[in-house]
Symmetry: C2
Subunit: 440 residues, 2 copies
């Protein structure tokens, strides 16, 4: 008998390993946050003596999903501005509130966002916002994995008067979280249309100096392409390529308005694209050519974007939406099968975060997993696990979320923070937010 | 003090009345299945003495949603065939199973489908299938409202060897359920491409004779239009118009491949269109021009279609998908605002079912309502109720579902049937279904 901290036994384990095996009546042995064994429940029970046993014999267990592009703090803006023209939405509602944000508001909004993610099966995310120190505090409190970065803009944010200040924050956060088990820092210029070539070059240099990855919005709309061509004489991908940004470990959000030459450029540089189908639909940005990207061998992950443009932070929602959207776009019901969508939400998400421990349940990988209630009516009958996860599940079937071997959510309860107290604080923000958005 | 059976008190009531009022700290007084009063909780408490009080002070209550096109029994096929070309999907998987269906299988599948609907806030539906007597039995067992009809085909179904037999079944069911509080019968020819002009004329005559509404699939794909033009020299809308079908009280599912003249024809005849965005995306059928339909004054409801082409039976999912899809299609983020989607799921659904008691919470209307848990992370903060219901809610926040004043689902429990026993029966079908679908 070997010893481990936790033995988790489940009805089914969707491994997402190289063979995409689904194991029935299977178990995970977990020690020090790592999966030390996986296999038939009976075998593992006889092989491992565990400090604690998790009996999930009526659950389906899958790898924790990865939300590879979000702005968790924007959760406090959910429903504050919808169904508006893009510029009115930004200038009349979002920007006025964002100019009045404080670290406390960002921490509260982020904690609510992380709560929603853990509640719906997400164990890791990439987050870009302002006051990112407060976001990281919230991530630590919630227990989620997070690749975080202070948004760098040419204009002042509520957090940083100048882009250099945002880079200083990035440098400080990178030092503070160096070697952290769950939290990492990236350089995050907001986009080509909110920065200058000099700012992007400074971002590149900082990322190189500190060996940090880079994450930014790119080619979100045709309008962005037009502005980039007007200002810099190049389309966004070419512009970033020319500035050397694509030579860094790099993930790019949206990537809607790209042609096949640009897709080839991104693939050659090993860039990970983060597809945000809900946000792109809600803001009427267009549809990223994801099937062509996948055919060309590009790695494509999924993101929820922020709650002001989604309004959910659920990768289950994005999996299903991606699978359906690309069938419609290509007029082919075979496009984007369920397994491809599940791969985007797990393995490609791990690639987007540059963290090879994530994305599958295998020996040696991080014990980041989710257990779903498969007795809910929409989960029956269970003919095909990938299909059920992508087309039928909502994410609200999540009954347990584990990050690095630690249970962070179980049966309605968040283990690392006081959720009812958070709800009360969020409700108290209402009057402030309405005034800030010009609604009251 | 007046007397009523039930006083329901909630944090918010989304009425869907003519002014689309949302009431805070409000109550419904319910008697004999009807809303007899609605207003501030304090007022109603002092005005009504109730046999029982439902304290839902931490819930949001809305009208029960209407699923205006489904095949509930197909729930047993969920996940059995996905990501396949349409004809392979139908001919290799769906039809072979459907040829081996029995009343018992249809009853079990329907009961599971109705369980999913009640669990996710649906209180009424239009159902077309075979062995519809078994569907109606299941609807009665579950307590859902249902407008049901035996599918009429030119070829034999497992239930009916000939179309005339399906019409006989329709006649018998209409007699059996005459005057039933929740269950009604319609004439349901399957589609133009699975019937003949003679069959459609016989359907029309029966509907006229028995004063029944008519429901069918129409203009689902460009291929259907092509076939109809080839066989009958007319496009589907014109073909049905010519046969007098549109003169009946009539709801038509899908209506994807239509031009503006056809939309005008449908509007002139008071036809209700049932939009099925998930199914149309999953089968790559195309996108119905719903924004143009609404602009022209057509009534458009929402449907889930069956679980083999969705794979959920949730009108929350369809609301959100419709709102996002039409923003993308029209390249305009103002298209299909949240309130329009909510109207489709409630008031237009009532019109589709031809039942004016449904769709809103007002004095004199049926007490069909749903209570959502608004303390789930995705439901916070609550800045705008319509936005939250359409963009943020999944439907799994449903904690109570009431039909005609009777609680049929509450906190995980179905009140009128043994759900765990149903789950066990459904699981036992697996081997049969796999053999029937040629998978084992």
């Amino acid at each position: 008998m070997h010893h481990c901290q936790t033995l988790l036994q489940a009805a089914r384990i969707v491994t997402q390993d190289a063979q995409r095996r689904v194991l029935s009546n299977a178990a995970l042995a977990i020690d020090q946050g790592i999966i030390v064994d996986i296999g038939p429940s009976a075998e593992l029970s006889s092989r491992w003596q565990a400090d604690s046993c998790l009996h999930l014999e009526d659950r389906l267990v899958l790898p924790g999903l990865v939300n590879a592009h979000t702005h968790a703090a924007m959760t406090i803006l959910r429903g504050l501005a919808d169904d508006m023209p893009l510029m009115d939405w930004l200038q009349q509602r979002i920007f006025p509130v964002e100019q009045r944000l404080t670290p406390r508001l960002v921490r509260l909004g982020s904690l609510l966002g992380f709560a929603e993610m853990l509640r719906t099966g997400i164990t890791a995310c990439t987050d870009m916002y302002i006051f990112e120190n407060a976001v990281l505090e919230a991530a630590d409190q919630a227990g989620i994995r997070c690749l975080a970065g202070e948004g760098v803009f040419a204009f002042p944010s509520a957090a940083c008067a100048q882009p250099s200040a945002a880079l200083t924050v990035t440098r400080e956060l990178a030092a503070q979280y160096q070697g952290h088990e769950r939290l990492r820092v990236a350089v995050m210029p907001h986009s080509v249309y909110t920065t200058t070539p000099e700012i992007l070059a400074a971002c590149r240099d900082l990322a190189q100096e500190l060996n940090l990855p880079l994450h930014m919005h790119l080619s979100e709309t045709q309008e962005e392409t037009r502005l980039c061509q007007e200002a810099h004489g190049r389309r966004p991908v070419d512009y970033c390529h020319n500035l050397g940004l694509l030579d860094l470990p790099c993930s790019l959000a949206h990537v809607v308005d790209v042609n096949s030459a640009e897709v080839a450029t991104l693939r050659q540089h090993g860039v990970v694209v983060v597809h945000n189908p809900s946000s792109n639909m809600k803001l009427a940005s267009g549809t990223a050519p994801v099937t062509e990207m996948l055919e060309q061998g590009l790695t494509v992950a999924l993101g929820t974007d922020g709650a002001a443009s989604n309004n959910r932070l659920s990768v289950f929602t994005e999996m299903r939406r991606a699978a359906l959207l690309h069938k419609l776009r290509t007029a082919n019901p075979v496009s984007m099968p369920a397994q491809a969508a599940l791969d985007m939400a797990t393995l490609a998400g791990a690639a987007a975060l540059g963290d090879a421990r994530l994305g599958s349940l295998e020996k040696g990988k991080a014990a980041d997993c989710v257990a779903l209630d498969i007795s809910e009516p929409n989960m029956l009958p269970l003919h095909n696990e990938a299909s059920q996860l992508v087309y039928a599940a909502t994410g609200m079937e999540t009954r347990l979320t584990m990050v690095g071997g630690e249970i962070v959510y179980q049966d309605g309860r968040f283990t690392r923070f006081d959720y009812p107290a958070l709800c009360a604080e969020i409700c108290d923000l209402r009057a402030f937010l309405w005034r800030a958005a010009g609604l009251a």
